[in-house]
Symmetry: C2
Subunit: 223 residues, 2 copies
Amino acid sequence: MSAFTASEREAVYRAILERRDCKRFLPDPIPDDVVARLLVAAHHAPSVGFMQPWNFVVIRSLEVRGRIKSAFERANARASDLFTGERGASYRALKLEGIMEAPLNLCVTCDRSRHGPVVLGRTSQPETDLYSTVCAVQNLWLAARVEEVGVGWVSIIDPADLRAILGIPDAVVPVAYLCLGRVAEFPASPELQRLGWLDRIDLAPLVFEDRWGQPSSGGPTPT
Amino acid sequence: MSAFTASEREAVYRAILERRDCKRFLPDPIPDDVVARLLVAAHHAPSVGFMQPWNFVVIRSLEVRGRIKSAFERANARASDLFTGERGASYRALKLEGIMEAPLNLCVTCDRSRHGPVVLGRTSQPETDLYSTVCAVQNLWLAARVEEVGVGWVSIIDPADLRAILGIPDAVVPVAYLCLGRVAEFPASPELQRLGWLDRIDLAPLVFEDRWGQPSSGGPTPT
């Protein structure tokens, strides 16, 4: 395979740096061929032992989404109580999901029983099947960015609710619940950073050499 | 931000489709500026509540890598016993790591205590910090592909060994142990597929609509 050109390289870095978690969506439908390309991107993620443990539950039904939205509201009411004072007020002002507005919801799951109990490479770290599924999510997220489709990961839902509402079997774990749709903009920085919730951490102190806590010596300081 | 052009879009899909898990490396060092760019790509992964729970332990020391390699060998001897007959012979013929040959090893970790016990978005699904860290790994993997750097994820190591050898604190989870380096080629298909270990699964039957098990109706069948 030929090497990537400088402009191809830049395109991939641009997708990585300009990807955002989106919570506000336009009602425009996502064309079927775009959805198909996003799923192909997800399906080409790395997976432990080439296990490909994922499934994709595309959710268009407003009735199903209404039940998911209620599950979010229950979980978020509990979560909200954990943030008090000024932090609590900020938390309650945040928009944390776009379940009903987004034209498409997608639950990405991991079938832990796929290919039986023994999977190459999963013997010492059984959670690597879940990690493979997350790689599929990130592939889809980056592909969506270049398709000008926003993606928002809704993590404030009790997995037991997701399981019940979507009929997910016991051996299967709902890894990510995503909202997808066109967006008015991809802002220059993450919303939680813009709102002063948390800053981007300096990268250099996060990098160690040869042992935890040992500063990295040579090389340019990444920023 | 301006929309992605058709050629930028193609570049991202190309990186996704041509990414491989690599186990055979050339000895050429990876320039420091390339390593820095890969870490920046990882650091721009999505993270729950903008938690950025990751650290990066870059491992160049051959002494440290020798201990990791021994840990791999112990774990792989145990794993190998799980594959019998023809499958066992195939398993033992596989090259599953490039710990000593690759010019660089990298352990990507997740600090579960970062920002304290309550993190926005992590209240219902505590494992989302680990998932964020995997998104960082996948960003790095795709960036490496366009830098013509091969990445191999070595999952056959007891995490307790990684923890002891690298001095990783209790609150921190070693999520991924990676080998990085130049490679002779990025093959057209994954090695486990070429060797007949497992085939790529058809995507269409993995896609459901509105509920687990319900075939997806409209739209082109993704391939």
